[in-house]
Amino acid sequence: MLECTPMRITAEEVRITARMARLRLEEAEVERMTLELGRILDYVASLEQVDTTGVAPLDHPGVLTCPLRPDEVGAHLPQREALRNAPLVEQEHFAVPAILVGLSAERGEG
């Protein structure tokens, strides 16, 4: 078992990360997560001891280049199937609580 180096990750960083992941953590959970995530980071940090000077980063073991497929239309899920897991269906759509009050119908999000 690796010893935990203090401050590998702060409680505040855990809170921010949780907020970005839309996770609601109780204070006790923040404490536990800080400790546990710190241990994981410590473990990964052991890689820093290896000298990688001159070694190219390895993105994907085994696969050298991105496979391509021809531009052909395949099978679709029937609409009923596609909507089967929707919490609520309205007018053939996934219905969700209203998004961003004040934002017009469509975003230009890229």
């Binding site: 994907h60 991105c66 391509l68």
Partner: protein, 483 residues
């Protein structure tokens, strides 16, 4: 004095263009627009567990076409990245995009602002997948349609080198023309296949550092681009002039009110937590693929424009004919059938006025024109060889347009050809002068305005087919010789 006074605006645009592939970027669902909601999905589109992306070769090829024709450097190895954010129209919880090693870098877009040629540099062009579409129901819910989720996009990022709403709108039009000419997108803003965000800042003239910028979203029509940007520039200048400061934020454009409103500030700015896409190995673009794309690259609108100017066309005609590939192809075909460069100006004028005028009046498009390029060329040849006067040619055009008959056949059948034969014209002129001795005497006594009367009579006698210039010459000499 410029409208922005001691300030200048610095604008950069990010354009998203939907590529017109048949299937999505990473799965085989259809990209067709207008289908029943959520009818064009598959397990990958829905972000169901266990699915993996497989890259669409055609989408890459379309992006390469764009990159090559804008002079970009093409990366021989590029990578995909995950961009995370939570939104109901993004089922996977991340969008596959490109970050550090995009497909294309550098390059430029050229366009005209009035008659001035501008060149704006591009920072990058990369591939990414579109999100689904959400609409807001009056019931207070948001409705999500995932047909659009996964449709291939290219994002085109310009350098901050635009300086007004007008320039930005011309730049955007140039992008639309370009992607249509390259046949990689329909560039339809109404249907969302071309969308645009603008980064806007202002600074005092002479300053080199950029001012604080705001990002304008939702400006999805050519008209709004100009208005939204000019509005934002004016807002920032007003703020700075009164000693205030621009706050870095994202603002939405409200087209109905003609104003913008803050959407999200810097403190809430997204941390997208980019990471290299583990499901896709690096994409390799080999030389033979690039050579193949280069060899089949369609002519760009600007190259077409230059070619037309070299043929002697005025700026406005060259610009019009290079604005849509169909228009340029129609012109090229007309020209080659009409005997080449000598017909260029005439062909451009006829297409620009008579042909497009008639099509516009009837709400028809060029491919369904009753007068095809070969028929128009026939008409132009009849004008060039003096068979038809301009006036007669218009009449022949109108009749061919409504009947679909070929001009040469119509002219032969109805004997419409212009009378240029000097002897034939002279005979008619003599008859007319003899029939109006009083007017002839007055003319000879100095009432030279009466020449118009005689020309009119001759034209009437010939059913408008006499060459008016010849008639004038003959009448002048006949009326002159007996004095």
């Amino acid at each position: 004095m410029s409208a922005t006074g001691p300030f200048e605006a610095v604008i950069g645009l990010e354009c998203h263009v939907q590529l017109q592939t048949r299937s999505k970027l990473f799965s085989a669902a259809s990209t067709r627009f207008g289908g029943a909601p959520n009818s064009q999905t598959d397990p990958y589109t829905l972000g169901l567990p266990g699915t993996l992306p497989v890259l669409n070769e055609q989408a890459v090829e379309f992006a390469l076409r764009l990159g090559l024709s804008t002079g970009c450097r093409i990366r021989r190895v590029c990578r995909f990245a995950r961009k995370h954010y939570f939104y109901p129209d993004l089922p996977k919880g991340y969008q596959i995009s490109q970050l550090d090693e995009p497909l294309c870098e550098g390059g430029h877009i050229e366009f005209f602002v009035g008659t001035e040629r501008r060149r704006v540099r591009l920072l990058r062009i990369h591939l990414e997948e579109d999100a689904g579409k959400s609409v807001h129901a009056p019931t207070g819910t948001s409705l999500v349609d995932l047909n659009r989720a996964g449709v291939p996009l290219v994002e085109i990022v310009s350098a901050p080198e635009l300086s007004s709403g007008q320039e930005a709108s011309e730049y955007l039009r140039a992008i639309r023309r370009l992607v249509r000419a390259l046949r990689i997108s329909d560039g339809n803003m109404e249907e969302g296949s071309l969308r645009c965000d603008a980064n806007v800042s202002v600074r005092r003239r002479g300053e080199t550092a950029l001012g604080t910028r705001t990002e304008l979203k939702n400006i999805n029509s050519f008209r709004f681009v100009q208005r939204a940007i000019d509005h934002e520039v004016a807002r920032q200048i007003d703020l700075l002039s009164r000693g205030g400061q621009v706050v870095q934020e994202t603002r939405g454009w409200d087209a109905e009110r003609g104003t913008s409103y803050p959407q999200r500030g810097k403190e809430e700015a997204h941390d997208y937590r980019y990471l290299p896409e583990p499901d896709l190995p690096p994409l390799h673009i080999d030389e033979s693929w690039l050579a193949r794309v280069r060899a089949t690259l369609p002519e760009t609108p600007m190259a077409r424009y230059d070619r037309y100017v070299e043929l002697g066309l005025p700026h406005a005609d060259a610009q019009l004919l290079s604005s849509e590939p169909e228009l340029g192809e129609y012109f090229d075909r007309t020209l080659s059938a009409a005997g080449g460069a000598r017909a260029a100006r005439l062909a451009a004028a006829w297409i620009g006025s008579e042909l497009l005028g008639a099509l516009h009046r009837d709400g028809r498009d060029l491919p369904s024109s009753p007068v095809g390029p070969e028929a128009l060329a026939e008409l132009l040849r009849l004008i060039l060889d003096g068979t038809l006067s301009g006036k007669l040619a218009k009449e022949v055009f109108a009749r061919c347009y409504s009947s679909g008959e070929r001009p040469a056949a119509l002219v032969a059948r109805e004997g419409l050809s212009q009378i240029s034969d000097a002897l034939a014209i002279e005979a008619v002129c003599r008859r007319v002068i003899e029939a109006h001795p009083q007017q002839a005497a007055k003319y000879r006594a100095g009432a030279s305005k009466l020449l118009g009367f005689f020309i009119g009579q001759v034209m009437r006698e010939t059913g408008g087919r006499a060459n008016p210039e010849r008639v004038r010459q003959v009448l002048e000499s006949l009326l002159g010789e007996k004095s």
